[in-house]
C-alpha cells in the first residue's frame, strides 16, 4: 500500500474540538500548532552568536551581566541554577531566544517567542477585564511635568526615575514632558472632565501600553527601563466599591497566576512602607522564584481619594452633594514573564505551562520516527519529566486517540508544574516567632512568616539588617492569638518577609 499519510496535525488540534470553557474551571484549550520547518527561532544549535553583549558598546556602564560571556558549555547550554541563578536566568533567556538587550542600557528587545508569551497573557487578561466591565482606552505617552507634581507623594516616589523629553522637532519644548512611568496623573486629569454625577460612575478603563522608569539596576523582563503592561484605572462613588474593585482585580491576577501560569502566588496586602506612592492600600501577588527570592507579580491599589483631591475629580451624588471619587488602579507587566521563567525553568532551560505556552508542542514533544510510522504510533514526551519516565511510547496516531492523549498529558503537565511549585514554595516558608529566628531563616535564603504589628522603623531595621522586606500580609491568615515577634505586642496578622527582586 502507499505511504502512510499522517493525519494533518491541524485536524488533530482543531479548535472546534477543543474545550471552550466558561470562566469557572478552565480546562486546557488546545491551540492549533504552528507547522513549520525547524526554523532558527526554536532550534538551539544554529549558528547565531549567543551574545549577551549590549550592542551599543559606547553606552555607559552596561549592566555587569551584559558583559558576561555566554556559558562555556556547548551552544545553547545553560549555567546550572545551583551554580549561578542569575547567570542561569540570562542563559535561558538567550538560549530560548526570549529577549535580547536593547541599544540603550536597560532596555530589552522582546523576541517572537518571548512576545508570544506576552500575547498569551494579554489574551487571557483582556477577556477577564472585559468580563468585569472594563473598556480599553489609550492615553498619550507624554505627561506635562506639572501633572506629575500635582500629587505630592506620587512625584516624590517617581521623580528619580522619570525620563524627560525637552527637545522635540529640533526645538526646546516650552514645558518638559515626562515619558509616562504610570498614568494616574493623566487619567485623573481626564476623569475630572468626564465625571460630573453619580450616573457617570463607576468609570472603568484599562490600557495596554509601554511605560518607562529610568532604573539603575535592570534585569530582562524583571526590571527594564521600558516595559509593557496593562494598567487599569477605575473611579467609584464609594470607598466600599473601590475596595471591592481593588480586591476583585488582585483576585483576577491571583487566579491567572495559579490557573494559567501554574504559579502559586500569595495574595495579600502591602505594608504601609511598601504601598504605592499615592495609594491608601496596595494589594499584591507574591511569587517565589527558583532561588527563593520573592517577585511581586502584580499589584492592585486602592487609591482612596488621594488623586481625586489633588486633581479635583468630583461628582454630584444622589443627594446633590459634591464628593470626590474613590479610585483604584492595577497592573501586570512583562515582569510576569520573568516570573514564569524563574518559577518553572530548570537546568535544561525554559519550562512553559501548557496553558500559556505559545506552542503547546513544546511542553509536549511528539516524536515520529521510521518505526513509529510502521506502527502508526508516535512517542509523546513530557518536557517536565526528563528521560524515559517522561515518555509515552506507542501512542496511536489515530486522531481522536492522539488528541485525547495529548490533552490529558498537557493537563497533567499543567497540574504537575503547579504542584511542584506549591511544594517548593511551602517547603521554603518557615513560621517564625522571634527576630532571631527570622534572621536565621532569611539567612538560609527562605521566606519567614510571623506575626507582626511593629511600625515602619522596625520594618526598616529588618530590611537593613537582613535584606528582607515585608512582601505582604497574606489574605489567608492563621487563626488564634498572635504576638508580634519583634515587639512582643499583640498582633492581628502574620506578615511574610523575604529577599526580593
Amino acid at each position: 500500500m502507499g505511504a502512510l499519510r499522517l493525519p494533518s496535525l491541524a485536524l488533530l488540534f482543531s479548535p472546534s474540538k477543543a474545550l471552550r470553557s466558561s470562566s469557572a474551571s478552565r480546562p486546557l484549550r488546545l491551540r492549533p500548532p504552528v507547522i513549520r520547518k525547524v526554523s532558527a527561532s526554536l532550534s538551539g544549535g544554529a549558528s547565531r552568536a549567543l551574545s549577551t553583549q549590549s550592542l551599543a558598546n559606547e553606552e555607559a556602564t552596561p549592566p555587569s551581566a551584559a558583559d558576561r560571556k555566554p556559558s562555556s558549555g556547548p551552544e545553547g547550554s545553560v549555567t546550572p541554577r545551583s551554580v549561578d541563578f542569575n547567570a542561569w536566568y540570562l542563559d535561558v533567556i538567550a538560549s530560548a531566544e526570549l529577549a535580547d538587550y536593547g541599544p540603550v542600557r536597560g532596555t530589552m528587545v522582546i523576541r517572537p517567542y518571548g512576545y508570544a508569551i506576552w500575547e498569551s497573557i494579554q489574551e487571557y487578561l483582556n477577556s477577564k477585564f472585559k468580563e468585569t466591565g472594563h473598556s480599553n482606552m489609550y492615553f498619550p505617552q507624554f505627561i506635562p511635568y506639572s501633572f506629575i507634581e500635582k500629587e505630592a507623594s506620587h512625584v516624590e516616589g517617581f521623580s528619580p526615575e522619570l525620563a524627560l523629553v525637552t527637545i522635540g522637532g529640533g526645538k526646546e519644548l516650552e514645558e518638559k514632558l515626562v515619558v509616562r512611568p504610570t498614568s494616574e496623573t493623566i487619567v485623573n486629569h481626564m476623569f475630572t472632565q468626564w465625571i460630573q454625577s453619580y450616573r457617570d460612575l463607576p468609570l472603568m478603563i484599562n490600557q495596554w501600553a509601554n511605560v518607562t522608569r529610568w532604573e539603575m539596576r535592570t534585569k530582562p523582563f524583571v526590571r527594564t527601563l521600558e516595559f509593557l503592561w496593562q494598567e487599569g484605572h477605575t473611579a467609584h462613588a464609594t470607598l466600599e466599591e473601590a475596595e471591592k474593585e481593588a480586591l476583585q482585580m488582585i483576585d483576577v491576577y491571583r487566579k491567572f497566576a495559579y490557573e494559567q501560569a501554574a504559579i502559586p502566588v500569595i495574595a495579600g496586602r502591602k505594608s504601609r512602607a511598601e504601598t504605592f506612592a499615592g495609594a491608601t492600600q496596595t494589594y499584591t501577588i507574591e511569587a517565589m522564584m527558583g532561588d527563593r527570592k520573592a517577585l511581586q507579580a502584580g499589584t492592585s491599589h486602592n487609591l482612596g481619594q488621594n488623586f481625586s483631591r489633588a486633581f479635583g475629580t468630583q461628582f454630584t451624588d444622589e443627594n446633590g452633594q459634591r464628593q470626590h471619587v474613590w479610585q483604584t488602579s492595577w497592573a501586570v507587566s512583562t515582569r510576569f514573564i520573568g516570573g514564569i521563567i524563574m518559577t518553572h525553568g530548570d537546568d535544561a532551560g525554559l519550562m512553559l505551562p501548557p496553558r500559556i505556552a505559545p506552542i503547546q508542542g513544546v511542553p509536549l514533544r511528539i516524536e515520529v520516527g521510521p518505526r513509529d510510522i510502521g506502527n502508526r504510533s508516535v512517542v509523546v514526551c513530557r518536557r517536565d519529566i526528563p528521560g524515559k519516565p517522561g515518555k509515552d511510547f506507542g501512542i496511536s496516531m489515530e486522531p481522536s486517540k492522539l488528541e485525547s492523549h495529548v490533552k490529558s498529558r498537557l493537563e497533567d503537565i499543567q497540574a504537575s508544574l503547579l504542584q511542584r511549585a506549591i511544594s517548593f514554595r511551602d517547603g521554603n516558608i518557615v513560621d517564625v516567632n522571634s527576630y532571631e529566628e527570622l534572621k536565621a531563616v532569611i539567612g538560609q535564603g527562605k521566606w519567614a512568616r510571623g506575626p507582626w504589628s511593629a511600625g515602619d522603623n522596625e520594618e526598616l531595621k529588618v530590611k537593613e539588617e537582613t535584606g528582607a522586606t515585608i512582601r505582604c500580609f497574606p489574605f489567608e491568615q492563621p487563626l488564634g492569638k498572635k504576638t508580634c515577634f519583634m515587639t512582643g505586642n499583640p498582633a492581628d496578622e502574620v506578615a511574610i518577609f523575604a529577599k526580593s527582586y
Binding site: 550592542l55 532596555t107 517572537p112 500575547e119 482606552m137 489609550y138 525637552t166 514632558l177 444622589e318
Partner: protein, 505 residues
C-alpha cells in the same frame, strides 16, 4: 441628609434630558475642519489633551482599532510573520546610520535629555519608526539562508514631533500603528510580499472601513526616505479635495542591508545582502473613516467595525407596561448577541427616547431598534438605519435574519456611496491650465506625467500657497491606456504614465 421619596423622584424628573439640539454646531460641507474636530469629540472617540498634537483615544475608538488589529494580526500570522517588541528608545549614533532615512525623520524626533534630576550624557531619541532600532539585530540574527525569511511585526506607539496643523487621527505627534519589517534572500520574495501586504491594507479600507482606495506606487520624491520603492493605498476626501495616504508597503531594497551590514551566506556559500520590506498602517485609518462617512448628525460607523452595531431603545408611553417594554428590549439584545451581533440596550431613565436617538446617531451606531407599546402589541420592532435614515418595521420572529441583511446592506451602501463620491471627484487632465482649474475645484487629478523628479518639485513650487502644494499621490497600478504622443501636463515632455496628483494631508 435624607430627602423624601417624592423629593428625590421630583429631582430625578427634572433631570430627564429631553431631545435638545444635541447636534453639531458645524456643518460638514461648510466648515469641514471644525466639523471634523467636533464630531471626533462629540462622538466620544477622542479627547483633546494638554499637549498639542496628542490625543486621548476613548473606548469607542479602541474598539475599532482592536477590530482592525484582530483582522490584520490574524492575516500576517498566516504569512508566518511573528510579533515582537523593540525598545522605544534609540541612541543617536544608531539613528544616524542610514543617511537618507535620518534626513527624512531627524527633524521630527523627540529627545529624552534628562533622567530624574540629572542631564543625560548622550540624549536618547524616541522612535519615529523602528528601522534603525531593529536592523542592528537583523544583522546579528541573520547569518545563513536558513535564517531567512525573517518576518517580524510590532504593534506600538511612535512619536513624530511635527509642527504642521495637528488633526485627530490624521496627524498627531504620537500615534499607534503596526510596523512590519521583513528580510528575504531574493528580491522576488520581497516584491511579492510588498503586494500581499498592500492587498491586506486595501481590505482594511474597503472591506472593513467601507472606503475606496487606489493602489499605486509612490514617486521618487514621495517614497520612503532610504527605501527602494514605496507602494500605497490612497484615499480621497471630497470635502477638502485632498488625497490621504492610507497605508504604505515599502520595498527597502538592500539600502538598509548595506548600512547595517545585514548579510547572509547563501546556498552557494557566498556572502549576500538581504532584501528588505517594511510596511505600516496606523490609527489614521480611523480618521479617514470619520471624514468619509460622517455627516451633520455625527459619526457614521460601518457595521464591520462599529463597537456597537445595534442599539435598542425603549419607547415607553404613559400608561403602557414599561416593564414589558424593557423586557422586550433586553431579550432583543440577548437574541442579537447570541447570534453574534454587537448589540446593547439603553435603559437609562434620565434621558428621553429622543435624546437617545440623537446621542446614538452622534456616535454613529449603524442600526437603531425602537420598541414601544404598539411594537410590543404587534410583535415587531422598528428599525432605523443610520446611514440613510430609512425606517422599517420587522417582525420579532425574523429579527436575526433581517438585522443580518440590513447590516450587510449598510456596509455595502456606505462603500458604494463613498465610491461614487470619489469617482465624481476624479478629473482627467492634460494641460497645466486644466490642472490648476481642477486643483481649485478640489479634484482628484489623473494626469499624464513624464516621471521626472525635478518636474514634480517644480509643480510643488508652483502650486505652493495657503492650501498647500500639489504633489503626486500615486501612480496607479491600474493604468489607463496612454495614447502615443501624449505629453506631460507639467513639462510638455513625452508622458510615461498616468499619475494621480492633488493636495494631500
Amino acid at each position: 441628609m435624607a430627602t423624601s421619596n417624592t423629593d428625590t423622584s421630583n429631582a430625578r424628573k427634572k433631570e430627564v434630558k429631553k431631545e435638545t439640539r444635541l447636534g453639531l454646531t458645524y456643518k460638514k460641507d461648510k466648515d469641514f475642519g471644525e466639523w471634523y474636530s467636533e464630531v471626533c469629540v462629540a462622538g466620544e472617540m477622542i479627547e483633546y489633551y494638554d499637549i498639542s498634537g496628542c490625543y486621548i483615544l476613548r473606548p469607542w475608538t479602541m474598539a475599532i482599532w482592536e477590530t482592525l488589529q484582530a483582522f490584520f494580526d490574524a492575516e500576517i500570522k498566516k504569512m508566518n510573520v511573528k510579533n515582537v517588541y523593540f525598545p522605544l528608545f534609540v541612541t543617536e549614533n544608531v539613528l544616524q546610520k542610514e543617511k537618507d532615512h535620518i534626513e527624512g525623520f531627524a527633524p521630527e524626533v523627540a529627545w529624552v535629555t534628562k533622567s530624574g534630576q540629572s542631564e543625560m550624557e548622550i540624549p536618547i531619541a524616541i522612535r519615529p519608526t523602528s528601522e534603525t532600532v531593529m536592523y542592528p539585530y537583523y544583522s546579528k540574527w541573520i547569518r545563513g539562508h536558513r535564517d531567512l525569511p525573517l518576518k517580524l511585526n510590532q504593534w506600538c506607539n511612535v512619536v513624530r514631533w511635527e509642527f504642521s496643523h495637528p488633526t485627530p487621527f490624521i496627524r498627531s505627534r504620537e500615534f499607534l500603528w503596526q510596523e512590519g519589517h521583513t528580510a528575504f534572500a531574493t528580491q522576488d520574495e520581497a516584491d511579492q510580499e510588498v503586494l500581499e501586504i498592500l492587498e491586506l491594507y486595501r481590505r482594511i479600507y474597503e472591506e472593513f472601513l467601507a472606503i475606496p482606495v487606489i493602489k499605486g506606487k509612490k514617486s521618487e520624491l514621495e517614497k520612503f526616505a532610504g527605501g527602494f520603492y514605496t507602494t500605497s493605498v490612497e484615499a480621497f476626501i471630497p470635502n477638502t479635495g485632498r488625497g490621504i495616504q492610507g497605508a504604505t508597503s515599502h520595498c527597502l531594497g538592500q539600502n538598509f542591508a548595506k548600512m547595517f551590514e545585514i548579510n547572509f551566506e547563501n546556498e552557494k556559500g557566498e556572502k549576500a545582502m538581504v532584501w528588505q520590506n517594511s510596511w505600516a498602517y496606523s490609527t489614521r485609518t480611523i480618521g479617514v473613516m470619520v471624514m468619509v462617512h460622517g455627516d451633520d448628525k455625527g459619526l457614521v460607523l460601518p457595521p464591520k467595525v462599529a463597537s456597537v452595531q445595534v442599539i435598542v431603545i425603549p419607547v415607553p408611553y404613559k400608561d403602557a407596561d414599561t416593564q414589558a417594554i424593557f423586557d422586550a428590549c433586553r431579550s432583543t439584545v440577548d437574541t442579537l448577541c447570541k447570534a453574534g451581533f454587537r448589540a446593547e440596550v439603553d435603559l437609562r431613565d434620565n434621558y428621553s427616547p429622543g435624546w437617545k436617538y440623537s446621542h446614538w446617531e452622534m456616535k454613529g451606531v449603524p442600526l437603531r431598534i425602537e420598541i414601544g407599546p404598539k411594537d410590543l402589541a404587534n410583535k415587531q420592532v422598528r428599525v432605523v438605519c443610520r446611514d440613510n435614515g430609512a425606517k422599517m418595521d420587522i417582525p420579532m420572529h425574523s429579527l436575526v435574519e433581517q438585522v443580518k441583511e440590513i447590516l450587510s446592506n449598510i456596509q455595502e451602501s456606505l462603500f458604494n456611496a463613498a465610491k461614487q463620491k470619489r469617482e465624481a471627484c476624479v478629473k482627467v487632465i492634460n494641460t497645466w491650465d486644466e490642472f490648476i482649474a481642477a486643483l481649485n475645484n478640489k479634484k482628484l487629478i489623473l494626469a499624464p506625467w513624464c516621471d521626472e523628479e525635478d518636474v514634480e518639485k517644480d509643480v510643488k513650487a508652483r502650486t505652493k500657497g495657503e492650501h498647500g502644494a500639489a504633489k503626486t499621490l500615486c501612480t496607479p497600478f491600474d493604468q489607463p491606456r496612454l495614447p502615443e504622443g501624449t505629453l506631460c501636463f507639467a513639462s510638455g515632455k513625452p508622458a510615461k504614465k498616468w499619475t494621480y496628483w492633488g493636495r494631500s494631508y
